[in-house]
Structure formats: C-alpha cells, structure tokens
C-alpha cells in the first residue's frame, strides 16, 4: 500500500536517474487513488471531470468486471495537461511503484516533446470540467434525453474532426465533418451546435494520443526498463519489478500488445542507431512512422507478429512474409484504424450532407452503416445524408434521409 511519504522516497530514487538520462521532467502532480477510482478515470479516458454519457458507464462496468476476474489491471494514468497529472493505484507495492513512476516520467517526456502534441491544449482539465457543467446545465434546460441523443449522434462523426495542427476553426478542412455539420446544419439549435463543437474539441485533444499509442507506450516501456535496471535494489524488489514488467509485456493472442511491440522497436533503434535516433523517433513519429522505420524482421520474429485472417476464410494461406506483415500493420494503424472520410464540396450546393470515403482497399461495415447514418440524418443534419464508398469493387451510395435507408449501386 503506497502512502504519500513512501511514494516521495521512491520518486527521489528514480527521478535523478531519469534526469541524468536526458528525460525532461516538468512538474508532475501524482495522485494516489484506489482501484475503483482508476477504473472510473480510465472509462472517461483519463479526464477526472467529464460530461455524463452512458458509454462511459459501459466501459466502467467492463473494467470493473475485468478487474474482479483478475483479467486486467490499470496501474497508472497520465493526463497530458499542465501540470501533468499521474494517477497511480495506491495498492501497488513499492517495487511496482518504482517501475510505474519511471513509466510515468517517460510518458511525460513523450508528451512534452512529440510534435503530435505541439498544438494540444494545456488546459484540458479546465475545459473538460467547464464542458461537463455546461452539458449538465443543458440537460436541465432541454432534457437529458435530448442531450443524450445529441451526444450519441455526435459521436458517430467524433472520429472525423479534421487534421490536427491544421485549421483550428471548423471551416475549411473537408475532413472535419463534425465541424461542417455543426456550422452548416439547418435544423440544429444554437446550444446543439455548441455541444457538437465541444465534442469536436475534445476529440481533437484525444486524436494525437490515438495516433501514437504504440509509440508512446513503447517509449515509456523502453525507459522504465532502462531506468529500473540502473537501480540496484535487493533481490525481492528486482523480482517484483521483473514480474510486473512481464505482465505488462504479456500477450493475449491474437491481440497486439502496444507496450511489447513499441518497446521492442525502440530497443532495436537504440541498439542500431543509439540514443539520438530514439529521441528523434519520440519527437517526430506517430505509430505509422515508427513502424515504417523500425519494424524489421528481427522485431517481427521477436514479437511473433503474424497476419490474422477473417473468420470464414476457407483458405489456409502460407504464413505472411515480413513485407506483408509490415504493410498490413501500417494499414491497421493508419488514421487510427478509422476510415478516411471527407465532406464533398457539393454538400453546400445541394443541401444534403454528402460524405466521400477515400477508399484504401477495405470495405466499410454495412451492418453498422444504416444506424450510423440514421443518427446523423435524424438528430444532426435533418435531411439526406449520403456516403459514397466502394464495396466489393463497386461504387455504392449509401444514404439515409431520416426515415429511409438506401444502398444504391452506381
């Protein structure tokens, strides 16, 4: 069980090592919380105050259950704000805390240097609590159901909020579909536009994190391994650290463990090109970039990467070669695994929302599509919503006008 005094001793042990290794350590506020709190935090993607929505509750329930059955445990959460916040499970042992603090320090260093976060707001905590209050007020004024259905629909487009670092205002970027709808919808009330823009801002805060999961976790794992190795604690502590480390790196086939893959790539970069390359990868690359420069046969073999096929594939193809694995992995992480969509310029003229899917060889899920388009049409656009895509090599126009779903072949 960690106490403030105990944690302080451990921080004093590991912090100088991190500084000497060249990690930047701005002010960090550590908060020792219990397991339940850390699950709640994780369900709200780390934001201690966030507006209410049932989907957070769904995640919360799952995390609690997973924890109860000892299927998963969350040890730390770092919030990219100024000052940085690090939440640590206070039931961790001293040895575990050493590793966790080292991990946290590396995350903080990553957030401080990666170019992906150069335009990220430092005030997310204030903004989030302001939004939470505002949305709760709107719920009292317009009814919780109206707010809930609005958030449900807004989240359909929540992954399509434009290039980060590009237009801050929702105007010119065609890939900013949520922003476009918030400005141009003819049926939305002023408060509803406001909520959409809040969802958009929040999504833009999280987007760089989604693009750099493997990189960020890999970098932090790389450093906590090195820093804890420099300590010379007793056998018991060393064993505990190794134990936690192996749990973090464990894989559940066929899932990809970003800690394991990322750390292996960083380890490889360090061995081949030294610490400057490690820092350059931290500064400049997202997951796709890291994989492009760092994934080689050695990493593939070590992490036992393979291409896993669809359920009903009758063909048992030969094992994927390294090239195929790399190509496939790049496609998996590109754009955070979200299809690349944009608003067609014709939307403005025709009054309907026309979305174009920039096809990359992967079909969209036509089971979900009607529900997704229906929500956008009914709750946000109030008219025809069209999606141009390609399915099995044929140009399809999927559309919903609020009452009817259509899937036409062009």
């Amino acid at each position: 069980m960690l106490t403030q005094t105990k944690l302080e001793i451990l921080i004093k042990e590991i912090l100088p090592l991190a500084q000497r290794a060249g990690l930047e350590c701005p002010h960090i506020h550590f908060e020792l919380v219990d397991a339940q709190d850390i699950h709640a935090l994780a369900s709200y993607h780390g934001l201690p105050v966030r507006y209410a929505h049932w989907s957070f509750g769904k995640t919360f329930g799952r995390l609690k259950t997973a924890y109860d059955y000892r299927m998963s445990q969350i040890y730390e959460l770092v919030i990219n704000a100024r000052p940085f916040y690090a939440f640590i499970d206070r039931s961790s042992t001293d040895a575990q805390a050493l590793l966790i603090v080292a991990h946290v320090l590396a995350h903080v260093d990553y957030f401080s240097h990666s170019r992906l976060f150069s335009t990220t707001t430092p005030n997310i905590l204030h903004q989030s609590s302001w939004r939470s209050r505002r949305i709760a007020d709107l719920g009292r004024i317009y009814g919780n159901n109206a707010v809930e259905s609005l958030l449900d629909a807004a989240w359909v487009l929540g992954d399509h909020v434009g290039r980060i670092g590009g237009h801050k205002e929702p105007a010119g970027d065609p890939s900013d579909i949520l922003g476009f709808v918030a400005i141009n919808s003819r049926v939305l009330e002023e408060w509803e536009r406001q909520v959409l823009l809040m969802v958009r801002d929040e999504s833009r805060y999280f987007w760089p994190q989604r693009l750099s999961k493997i990189n960020n976790e890999g970098y932090a794992t790389f450093w906590h391994t090195r820093l804890t190795r420099e300590l010379s604690p007793g056998t018991e502590i060393t064993w505990q650290i190794a134990h936690l480390n192996s749990r973090l790196l464990a894989t559940t086939p066929p899932r990809l463990n970003p800690y394991a893959l990322g750390a292996r790539i960083y380890e490889r970069l360090y061995q081949q090109h030294g610490i400057t390359q490690v820092m350059a990868a931290r500064n400049l690359l997202d997951d796709a970039g890291l994989i492009r420069i760092g994934l080689d046969e050695h990493v593939i073999r070590h992490c036992r990467l393979d291409v896993f096929r669809e359920q009903d594939s009758a063909l048992s193809s030969p094992y994927a070669g390294p090239e195929q694995i790399k190509t496939q992995l790049l496609q998996d992480v590109e754009h955070a695994g979200v299809p690349y969509l944009s608003v067609s310029p014709r939307s403005r003229e025709e009054g309907s929302l026309i979305i174009e899917h920039h096809f990359d060889g992967r079909d969209l899920d036509f089971y979900e599509l009607p529900f997704a388009l229906k929500a956008v049409s009914q709750r946000l656009w109030g008219g025809l919503v069209q999606l141009h895509t390609i399915k099995k090599g044929v140009h399809h126009i999927a559309s919903h006008n609020g009452s009817r779903w259509a899937d036409e072949v062009v």
Binding site: F56, P253, Q311, R362
Partner: protein, 381 residues
C-alpha cells in the same frame, strides 16, 4: 521550465460519482433492449428452468455505439501469436484465435449481456396483472399492516396494557388477599396481528392435460406457461392460492412438484377436470371471498363423446370465475379441436392457440397483460 518538481495527493478530493450514474444509465438501456427482445428470451429453453442462478446470454446489438467503420470481420489484421508456437502450431493458433479479434479490431459488436432469471422475470412481470381483480375480496393479509389483537404475557415494554395488568393484579389480590401490588407476572402486553391487505384474495386453478397424446412439445409449452404464471403470481401477488390439477380421463389435485414433473398416459376427458375445479372452488374458495381464475392447457385431443359435457361444464366454470382461459397447443397446422371451436364461439372464455414456443409469452400477455387487446373476460361483470 523548472524541472524535477512534483507534488503528491492521496485522492481525498476526488471521487467519481458520475461513473456510477452512467453505469446505471447503461444498465437501464440494456434492460430496455432486453425488453424489446422479449419473445426470444421467453422461448429460450434455459429460462424455464427454476434455478435462480441460471444465467441467460442475450444478444443486444442496440448497445453498440454505431460508427462509420471498417468491416473488420472480413479483413486480416496484424496480431501477436502465442509464445512458443512455431511451425504448424502457429497455423492452428491462427485459425482458432484469429477468427475472433485481430490486432486492432474494435470491441465486439454484439454485447453479450448476462441477464439472470430474476432480472428477466422482473421485465416480464412488470406488464402483467390479474385481470378484473376485485380488491374488496380480501386475502389473509401480507403481514405489512398490524393491528392489536390480544393480550400476551410477553412483549415489548412500549405495548404494556395498563388495564389488563391492573386486572391481573386485582385478580391475584382477590385470591391471595395481599395488598394491591403489581409484580412482573401481572404485566400484560398487546399482541399485534397482521391486518388483511388491501389486495384482493385470489385463487388460480391450473389445469393441465397429462394424457398420453401430450407430446414433448405440448408438455413443454403447457409447463412453461404454468411455470411463468406461478412465478408471476408468487412475485406480484404473494398470497394468491394456486391449485394444481392434472387430468387424463380422471382428474386429481396434485402438489406443485408432481404437477411440473409428471409423466403422461391415458386418454383425455376435459369435463372431469372442470368438474373437479368447480368442486374445489365451491368447497374451499367461496365466490364472495375470492377472485377466481382457471386455466386449462391441452393438446385438444378430448374424447368426442365428452365434448358436449365438457362445453357445458366449461361454461359453468367460466360463469363462476373472473376468467377462464383455455389454451390449445398444436405443433402442426392442424385445425383447432371441436371443443376449442365451440368454446371460442361462447366469447366469455379466453381461448388461445399455441403453435410456437414464443406463443407462451403471447399467452401470458393475452391473459394477464395490462393492455390486453383481445382479452375475453367472463360475463360476471
């Protein structure tokens, strides 16, 4: 920037109340979804097992947060194979595990929600009531309301009865000739008994055909209907009396255990069970004290020679009950039996044909639904 500073808190300022509320909201939505899938749920074989811990898996696609996303089920993605798997072993892993979730596949689109029998029953029973219940016919009381009934030698101090205590003391003085003095065994206390509840007293007569012609399917349906009826009554009307009657050519009253686990043999004479029901009602459940209901489930294979008599007795039973329901179970497209047809013509009898497993729920709604559309109630009103 000044480097290397930190601060430490112990989470005192912070608890996440919102998470519990949002979790509750999600559960609520799950329940709504379960409700919408109800017909499937009731017909599930597992759910009719009287085991409170039995868990049913209900698919709930409504809870998916719909997005415009890739069809991950039909694409390969990169994942990590099992440690120590090589060569051919690697191939098996790929087939076994690869199906479910590739490396970056989003969560499952079908939420596998565990609903206990209890929860499912709550949802079903929420919509059911005993029809035409006359609340003036009181049952024996449910023990919630109490009234002083008699004096007792033990009890709570606050319920001390001064008058009775004094009387006891005086009696003792009269006998022993001492001076008047209250000693502990003079003290009397009020004893409180439960007051009859404001709920109507009611009896349900469950009649089931156990003749040889009842096949597995027919028995399954009849038992399911009665299982749910009994569960519903016990839950919503704890003091309702239930009488179980099984019949082939003869009818007899059985206990609950026998009723639900009885084999079948013999022919079918429905009038026998109606007659027995009438006798039991007349002897034990007088009309002025009880709301009376009767349900008969059969495969419709009544002896032709008995049809006229059965109709006559059924009509009498119907006139003496709030509701008489007659359910006939066919797994084929066979026409309803002559008895069914003549009962249906009467209009006062709730007749119902069950052909599929889902019809059990339809029958429950038909007889007990709060907003019954086609409920034929008795001519008593």
């Amino acid at each position: 920037m000044k480097s290397g500073t930190y601060s430490i808190g112990y989470g005192e300022w912070w608890t996440y109340h919102g998470a519990y509320h949002d979790e509750w909201r999600h559960d609520q939505k799950v329940k709504e979804a379960v409700k919408a899938n109800l017909a499937d749920l009731v017909s599930d074989e597992q759910i009719t097992v009287a085991d409170g811990h039995r868990v049913i898996n209900v698919p709930l696609p409504e809870l998916k947060e719909f997005r415009i996303s890739f069809d991950w089920h039909h694409y390969s993605s990169v994942g990590q194979a099992d440690v120590g798997s090589d060569g051919e072993e690697r191939g098996t892993t790929r087939q076994a595990g690869g199906a479910k979730a590739g490396g970056s596949e989003p969560g499952l689109d079908v939420e596998d929600t565990a609903v206990t029998l209890e929860e499912a029953a709550d949802i079903v029973f929420e919509r059911l009531v005993l029809p035409d219940l006359d609340p003036l016919k009181r049952s024996r009381g449910d023990g919630n309301e109490m009234q002083p009934a008699a004096w007792d030698k033990v009890g709570l101090k606050s319920r001390w009865v001064r008058r009775a205590t004094l009387r006891e003391a005086m009696k003792r003085r009269a006998k022993d000739g001492d001076r008047l003095e209250i000693i502990p065994w003079d003290v009397r206390y009020w004893r409180y008994d439960p007051l009859p509840a404001e709920e109507g007293g009611a009896v349900v007569v469950a009649m089931m055909d156990t003749s040889g012609s009842m096949g597995t399917f027919e028995k399954y349906l009849a038992k399911s209907f009665f299982f749910w009826t009994v569960e519903f009554l016990r839950r919503n009307y704890p003091h309702v009396e239930i009488v179980f009657l099984a019949h082939d050519v003869r009818a007899r009253e059985v206990d609950e255990e026998t009723f639900f686990h009885r084999g079948s043999s013999g022919g079918t004479v429905s009038s026998s069970v109606y007659r027995l029901a009438l006798d039991i009602l007349a002897q034990r459940f007088p009309e002025e004290l009880f709301n009376r209901y009767a349900f008969h489930f059969t495969d419709g294979g009544n002896l032709t020679s008995d049809n006229a008599l059965a109709l006559e007795v059924a009509l009498e039973l119907s006139s003496r009950t709030n509701l008489f329901g007659y359910g006939e179970i066919h797994d084929t497209d066979r026409n309803p039996s002559p008895l069914f047809q003549s009962l249906a013509e009467q209009g006062s009898i709730g007749t119902m044909l069950l052909r599929r497993k889902e019809d059990v729920f339809v029958a429950l709604e038909y007889y007990f639904g709060k907003d019954r559309t086609a409920h034929a109630h008795s001519d008593q009103a």
